[in-house]
């Protein structure tokens, strides 16, 4: 007897090193973010000007009290890093979810109805792609006043293009299949066809795009914070930590290497998971 589909899928997931690595790192970061109050050795906001810019533990001048050293205000770097994971994950998931709703709606409508509706959707996508994202996000954040919610909203409203492009073409492929015609023949409403027949069948693709957009949102939040118009201080956003450390990077390089490496690692893990998921769910699309 051949193994069941579930067993095959499990075998494929566990046989896939990149998915395993990606998922493990993401789960670890998630666990750290959730357990931040118990894991952080110090208060991430507590300043101690007598303890400024202490090097991390692997440096000869470092100590175990501050494993990753301290920043220019004497705040414990490890604790700030741990709390910063919350910001990255929160921005990544919520902005990606928001853009998923916008992009999927546009893509499914354009792909299913075709004709003028599709022309309109394509036009909206083209227009969005022509907007310089970072510049617009910065300008809006500067005007409204930057905060965590504003950053999430701005990114969610700007990053839906890939969702729309991918769902549009996926829907086009699905819409002429027999089972859609069958659903229409038994009198299903259009809304039912879109939500119950089409959406679940393009869910695989959506999942892959979601990981890419989440990575993108995390990088953009860090970029906005780095340029001073994202998450306002004293919040420990990783991008903001790099910005605040920039002045001191010549003599205390760890103030930028540590938060940057954390950002790099998290985004890499999300991308690995996404690439792996694509391999598993749609091996034919491998480039």
């Amino acid at each position: 007897m051949p193994p069941s589909r579930g067993a095959q899928l499990r075998a494929r997931i566990f046989g896939h090193t990149t998915v395993l690595i990606g998922a493990t790192v993401i789960l670890a970061v998630l666990a750290v973010a959730l357990a931040a109050p118990w894991l952080a050795p110090h208060d991430p906001f507590a300043q101690d000007l007598s303890q400024r810019l202490i090097p991390p533990v692997w440096d000869a001048r470092g100590s175990w009290t501050h494993i990753f050293g301290t920043d220019q205000l004497g705040r414990d770097y490890l604790s700030r890093l741990i709390y910063g994971a919350r910001i990255s994950l929160l921005v990544g998931t919520t902005a990606a979810a928001m853009s998923a709703v916008i992009g999927t709606t546009l893509g499914v409508l354009g792909g299913y109805f075709g004709g003028r509706a599709d022309l309109l959707v394509t036009f909206i996508i083209t227009t969005r792609l022509a907007l310089p994202v970072i510049l617009v996000a910065l300008a809006v954040a500067a005007l409204i006043g930057s905060s965590l919610n504003i950053v999430i909203a701005v990114l969610g409203l700007l990053l839906w293009d890939r969702f729309a492009v991918v769902t549009r073409s996926a829907t086009m492929q699905v819409r002429s299949l027999d089972y859609i015609a069958a659903a229409r023949a038994i009198g299903s409403s259009t809304a039912r066809i879109l939500l119950i027949e089409i959406l679940p069948n393009i869910a695989n693709v959506l999942l892959v795009v979601a990981t890419l957009e989440m990575a993108q949102a995390i990088l953009l939040e860090a970029t906005l914070s780095f340029l001073g118009l994202g998450i306002p201080p004293p919040a420990p956003s990783w991008g903001l930590m790099v910005a605040e450390g920039k002045e001191y990077m010549f003599f205390s390089p760890w103030v930028i290497t540590i938060p940057g490496a954390a950002l790099f690692g998290l985004v890499l893990a999300i991308n690995l998971l996404g690439d792996g998921l694509r391999d598993i769910t749609a091996p034919e699309s491998r480039a």
């Binding site: 227009t127 910065l138 790099v242």
Partner: protein
């Protein structure tokens, strides 16, 4: 062909117009410009005075009509902060950004084309894996952080290259790498996929059977056809690079359009911000239009779609 070009041009104009409406509306509706301009300590009377002086008390539709009518003639108004025409400011800074963009594009292509070809010639070889690994790593690298690491490594530790300013060509090396690496994964994947397809085709077999040298087959016969999709994507990526230059220019203190935009945003100089958003968007629209037409010339099948 003519009909296709006309249709694409009309769509491009419409996109540019829509972008102008959106960017204008975004900046005028997401906050009070007069308040931002007058500063946080201004009294209500000051704000009202600013509002009147800059014509911000007029209906937004009138303001937009006035702005776009001047903008199409190249008049973007006067900078709130520097009191000089915005057009001149941007014309001053655009060469730096375009130079940076072109250098970044050249770097990205110089790195990704040979790697893409090598990866396609021997799929699953160590070179192929290296190329794939580089592209996966590259996509996860935050550009501002990569730029700072380059500064520490090559500017401070090794002292090979200058890290800020734009007076010599050396000043553009690190910024071009920091900006260009982001486009390499896309180029590399496209080149690899295109080469794999072309190398399997009959005319390549013929060329090989004729006894042509491998290099000649790869670069003269195969790459030329495999590169078509790369050309289109290169145009689009160049547009993205101009948009991304704001980050790189601010890290390297390159006084280009991106840096100008960042400065303008931080001092609420909105005529400048608006003009930059519009100009960058128009450049992007123009580039995609050119890419579409180039594709239509190279591949006649596209024209009838």
């Amino acid at each position: 062909m003519l009909a296709y070009c006309a249709k694409r041009t009309i769509v491009a104009l419409l996109v540019a117009l829509t972008v102008s409406v959106i960017s204008f509306a975004l900046l005028h509706l997401s906050g009070d410009l007069a308040q931002a301009l007058a500063g946080p300590s201004a009294t209500a009377a000051d704000v009202a005075q600013v509002r009147e002086a800059y014509g911000l008390d007029r209906p937004i539709v009138v303001q937009y009509g006035d702005w776009i009518a001047r903008a199409v003639r190249g008049d973007f108004g006067e900078s709130f902060f520097l009191k000089v025409p915005v057009g001149e400011l941007i014309a001053d800074r655009l060469p730096v950004t375009l130079t940076l963009g072109i250098c970044a594009l050249v770097f990205a292509l110089a790195l990704s084309l040979p790697l893409g070809v090598a990866a396609a010639v021997k799929p699953n070889s160590w070179l192929d894996r290296l190329a794939l690994g580089l592209s996966v790593l590259g996509q996860a690298l935050p550009s501002f952080w990569f730029a700072l690491i380059l500064i520490i490594m090559f500017g401070l530790k090794l002292r090979w290259l200058p890290v800020s300013g734009s007076s010599t060509w050396q000043h553009f090396v690190l910024p071009a790498i920091a900006l260009g690496y982001y486009a390499t994964p896309a180029f590399m994947r496209l080149t690899r996929a295109g080469m794999l397809e072309v190398l399997a085709s009959d005319y390549i077999r013929t060329a090989r059977a004729k006894g042509l040298r491998t290099m000649s087959v790869l670069f003269k016969h195969a790459l030329r056809n495999a590169i078509i999709p790369v050309v289109a994507v290169a145009a689009v990526q160049f547009g993205f690079m101009l948009g991304g230059s704001i980050v790189i220019e601010s890290v390297f203190s390159l006084h280009g359009v991106g840096y100008l935009g960042w400065e303008a945003i931080s001092r609420a100089d909105f005529p400048v911000v608006q003009a930059i958003v519009l100009i960058l968007a128009c450049i992007y629209v123009l580039l995609t239009l050119l890419a579409d037409m180039l594709n239509a010339v190279l591949d006649p099948r596209i024209r009838v779609r």
